[in-house]
């Protein structure tokens, strides 16, 4: 029986060899991945042992860590939590970080490569290590104005600096309080998390950039108009504007808002069609331009393109292969066109900036403990979706929308505002989303603002972009230009 015993000894040796391999795999080979896993709260514990840097808005820390006498060592707290939640995100010991807390994690906890010299200094001088502070581009007055103007309605507001791309306001409602999620009481956090996740109002979605995308409705006519202008039309080009449009290949008939005619003659100028937001004219225009031209223009504006600000932005989409009636509906921002509010703000900003689109960004600078700047965002050009001429024509047309069209509610005395309304149908029995995308001042643009109010907000079925969303944009523009 000794031969099988010896063989069994070899088998046992092999079994332990496998275990050594398994342990090495977990603790050495896979360890970096496992430690980087956001669900690995040990990494959080280790980080909490370090003093995490603050997130700063206009010189004031909206997220900061303070020493606390528990195993974590530091407690993260948020100033005006719900107001800044879509930006800061949260820093949870149960669910890991989200938002800026997640995307700037290595800077905040001090482990980023760019902070190597700062760490070296701390080591040499024996100074208590402190993560870097992350300074945001957010304008607190504009942020508050957007928050107040949105009121109790569900929706989002994004304001960006047209010349740099800096994001000045990013509000999403309803919101949540990241302080609750940052609590060290794991049971309480789990409970709150479950309630937030289960809430039909989806408070944890950042509607501005990463919620469920919305149909843009008539605000998409800016893209269609841009494609038309780029194809050689001018704002005075006469286009067909029937009261009813029989969609090709289908029995459907497209009408204008309220069933009203767009013109008495059956044709209208491109500028007028945009001013009164004529559905039939733009639907026909879309068919004439074709889905490829529309898609090319949309993609030039940033549709179907990955974007980080530094949080990942959900891609806005233009349908891949629409037939003629679907193209008609797409041209007026219905069918399967879906956008984020940030995308619509970027369309306005590009028009405002003479056709040059700037990369939107939230982080202005990263400063180490001794306040030296270790990282500063330089405005970068994202692309040139339209020519300067097209931009100028669109700007004029958008000014008309606010002066005498559907967007009159955005008028500000002494400041010329350019904008476009949208009232996007989602389903027959649900109130439409109210949209407004705009920039101001029209002659020397500084800020672009996009607003969406879900399901008509306080006005419900009576809502239009002009009535519900435009006043919110106006409030934000006023706050930025104060």
């Amino acid at each position: 029986m000794n031969t099988p015993l010896r063989r069994l000894a070899t088998v046992v040796l092999a079994m332990f060899g496998i275990l050594v391999g398994g342990a090495t795999w977990v603790q050495f080979v896979q360890a970096p991945d496992l430690n980087a896993d956001p669900r690995n709260v040990r990494t959080l514990y280790r980080e909490y042992g370090n003093h995490r840097g603050p997130i700063v808005v206009a010189g004031e820390a909206v997220a900061s860590s303070a020493p606390i006498d528990d195993p974590f060592g530091y407690q993260r707290s948020y100033l005006n939590g719900p107001l800044y939640a879509p930006v800061t995100g949260y820093y949870s010991v149960v669910y890991g970080p989200e938002g800026i807390e997640r995307w700037m994690n290595t800077e905040l906890n001090g482990s980023a490569d760019s902070l190597f010299y700062a760490r070296l200094q701390d080591l040499v001088t024996g100074r208590q290590p402190l993560g870097a502070s992350v300074e945001l581009t957010i304008d607190p007055v504009a942020q508050q104005a957007a928050w107040d103007a949105l009121g109790d309605q569900s929706g989002a507001v994004v304001a960006i600096d047209t010349t740099t791309g800096a994001i000045l306001a990013m509000v999403s409602k309803p919101s949540y309080d990241p302080n609750v999620l940052a609590s060290h009481d794991m049971a309480a956090v789990t409970e709150v998390w479950a309630a937030l996740q289960a809430s039909p109002e989806r408070p944890m979605e950042n509607r501005a950039i990463a919620g469920r995308t919305y149909p843009p409705g008539s605000t998409f006519k800016l893209v269609t108009a841009a494609a038309a202008l780029e194809s050689g039309m001018t704002s005075d080009t006469e286009i067909a504007a029937p009261t009813q449009l029989q969609l090709p290949l289908s029995s459907s008939v497209l009408r204008n808002f309220g069933g009203a005619p767009c013109s008495s003659t059956g044709t209208t100028t491109l500028a007028d069609a945009l001013r009164i937001s004529c559905n039939t004219a733009f639907a026909q225009l879309g068919i004439d331009l074709g889905d490829d031209a529309l898609r090319a223009q949309a993609e030039a504006f940033g549709f179907d393109t990955p974007l980080n600000v530094p949080m990942r932005v959900t891609q806005s989409r233009f349908p891949a292969d629409p037939d003629a009636p679907q193209t008609a509906l797409s041209a007026i921002g219905q069918y399967e066109v879906s956008v984020t509010p940030l995308q619509m703000a970027m369309v306005s900003a590009a028009i405002a900036n003479g056709g040059v689109q700037m990369q939107p960004y939230l982080v202005a600078a990263v400063r180490s403990q001794d306040l030296t700047i270790v990282q500063q965002t330089e405005p970068t050009q994202l692309g040139r979706p339209i020519s300067g001429g097209t931009a100028a024509a669109l700007r004029e047309m958008m000014v008309q929308v606010v002066e005498s069209g559907t967007g009159r509610a955005a008028q500000i005395s002494g400041i010329q505002v350019a904008g476009k309304t949208g009232t996007a149908q989602t389903a027959d029995d649900v109130a439409p989303h109210a949209w407004f995308t705009s920039f101001a001042p029209a002659d020397a643009p500084r800020v672009a603002v996009a607003v969406i109010v879900e399901n008509g907000g306080s006005m419900g079925n009576e809502a239009t972009g002009g009535a519900v969303a435009a006043p919110i944009a106006r409030a934000v523009i006023q706050a930025v230009l104060r």
């Binding site: 090495t24 360890a31 040990r42």
Partner: protein, 493 residues
């Protein structure tokens, strides 16, 4: 021809004492470090604790000097080291539990009591059992005892379901109430039964049947026992929902079957039967299937957050990963984040605080223990002893494989615990008894043959395995009925 060698066999008791000092300093040192790391000072009871551990180990050592002077000198120190390190870790996890306000945080104290009970029982086994061959008389009694123990957790009112596995019974032993895993004790009973049964039937089972793909298959009519063992282990898997126990018993049976028959075909048949049975069980029975899914997709978010889910397993992986190569150090990690960090997941706790280095050192200790057991099996002269010692050594190694493999996600997670290391009275008790039995068998394996016997003696110097050289006449000093091992290496090599 081997003749009586004048060479004197060294019992090795002094070496054992030296190793014991090393093992004890590991255990008490770890205990002291835990106190220093968590409270900043030595644990208040460090002297009482150390004295207790030293007294128990020395007591056992003295029993060995008295009753089994030729016993293997490495087994006891290895076991003491593992037990001591385990105690330190449990003590350390108590601190974490207490810091988090958990009410029950006296696992270390209870484990210490269980250690004392186990060591005393091990000593009793060594004193009472003068010759391991006595156990062969209880072959079928052992089978019945084993089966009863296995079925106990299914008895309503007695069995408790913990973590979805029905392998526990609730016991109340004068203040030491807790859950008891009868399967731990059953493995000893089954090792006795398998050894006794196989030693008499192995010749039949080894008879050649048809050949298939270069493999000498057994005769179909001899398949009965393995099918029975297979059905029993599948029964455990299905009714108690415990892959670990199921795997352990089937592994023990197949391993011992191979030892007895030397037929690789038995192993192949056994493996195929088990894998096939487990695969069918996983597809047919939902909760078994869920456990496999949890294993395969452990890192998936839907399984991580689910209950039952992979949260515990992945938590253990996170802990081990955060330990890295050298660990956080005693008391510096967060092993308490993983449920059952003191029992099922003590391996992950060790990996976290002692690092890969410490974990590998522990694995080497287990490897040494298993190999000393197998060496004992090679050295002992009777077939029953060989099978019994080989089976127990293998079951320790196999249990380590199943536990560590489960924690490191090599195989699905089971409810088994790490021998000697993990918190748990039943496990500690059973494994100390196994250690005592191995020590007992090793004593007879290493003991020089009685020169007073007027027969030709095998070469019984430091290389006892040579006793089985084909030309030597095997000896059976006490039991004339003992099967004489003529099928040693000579017939196959």
């Amino acid at each position: 021809m081997a003749t009586v060698s004048p060479h004197r066999v060294r019992p090795g008791r002094n070496g054992e004492l030296g190793l014991l000092v090393l093992a004890l300093s590991l255990g008490t040192g770890a205990y002291a470090l835990v106190g220093l790391a968590t409270t900043g000072s030595l644990p208040a009871d460090i002297f009482g604790y150390s004295a207790g551990l030293i007294a128990l180990s020395l007591g056992m050592h003295l029993v060995l000097r008295w009753r089994a002077p030729y016993a293997d000198p490495v087994i006891l120190p290895t076991v003491v080291a593992l037990n001591g390190i385990g105690l330190a870790m449990i003590y350390r996890i108590d601190f974490a539990y207490a810091a988090r306000g958990r009410e029950v945080a006296d696992f270390a104290e209870r484990q210490l009591v269980w250690t004392a009970i186990s060591v005393v029982l091990a000593a009793v086994v060594l004193i009472a059992l003068r010759d391991h061959r006595t156990l062969r008389r209880y072959t079928y009694t052992a089978m019945v005892v084993g089966l009863v123990l296995l079925v106990l957790p299914l008895v309503p009112g007695l069995g408790v379901e913990i973590n979805g596995a029905q392998i526990w019974i609730r016991l109340s032993l004068g203040g030491l109430d807790g859950s008891f895993q009868p399967a731990e004790v059953a493995k000893i009973a089954f090792a006795i039964f398998f050894a006794g049964y196989l030693v008499t039937t192995r010749d039949t089972l080894a008879l050649a049947g048809p050949r298939l793909l270069g493999l000498q298959l057994p005769r179909p009519r001899d398949l009965g026992p393995i099918l029975l063992a297979w059905l029993a282990s599948l029964g455990i898997l299905v009714f108690q929902s415990d892959l670990g126990t199921s795997l352990l018993f089937f592994g023990l049976f197949v391993g011992m079957l191979y030892l007895a028959t030397e037929r690789l075909s038995w192993v192949v048949i056994g493996l195929m039967l088990f894998l096939g049975g487990a695969a069918v069980a996983a597809t047919v029975i939902p909760h078994v299937g869920t456990r496999f899914d949890i294993w395969l997709h452990a890192l998936g978010d839907e399984y991580y957050r689910a209950s039952p889910g992979s949260g515990q397993l992945v938590g253990g992986l996170f802990g081990m990963a955060s330990g890295g190569l050298f660990g956080t150090g005693w008391g510096e990690g967060r092993p308490d984040l993983v449920p059952y960090a003191e029992s099922d997941f003590i391996v992950a706790s060790m990996g976290e605080e002692l690092g890969l280095t410490g974990l590998l050192a522990l694995l080497v200790l287990y490897l040494v223990l298993a190999q000393r057991g197998l060496r004992t099996a090679i050295g002992v002269r009777d077939g029953f002893g060989k099978l019994f010692a080989g089976g127990m050594a293998f079951v320790i190694a196999f249990q380590c494989f199943v536990v560590v493999g489960g924690v490191t996600r090599l195989i699905p997670l089971t409810g088994l615990t790490m021998p000697f290391l993990a918190y748990g009275g039943s496990s500690l008790l059973a494994n100390w008894v196994i250690a005592a039995l191995l020590l007992r068998i090793s004593d007879s394996a290493r003991r020089p043959a009685d020169p007073a016997l007027p027969i030709e003696l095998p070469d019984a110097d430091e290389e006892p395995s040579r006793a089985e050289a084909p030309h030597s006449t095997p000896v059976s000093s006490e039991h004339e009925t003992e099967l004489i091992d003529l099928r040693g290496e000579g017939t196959t090599s």
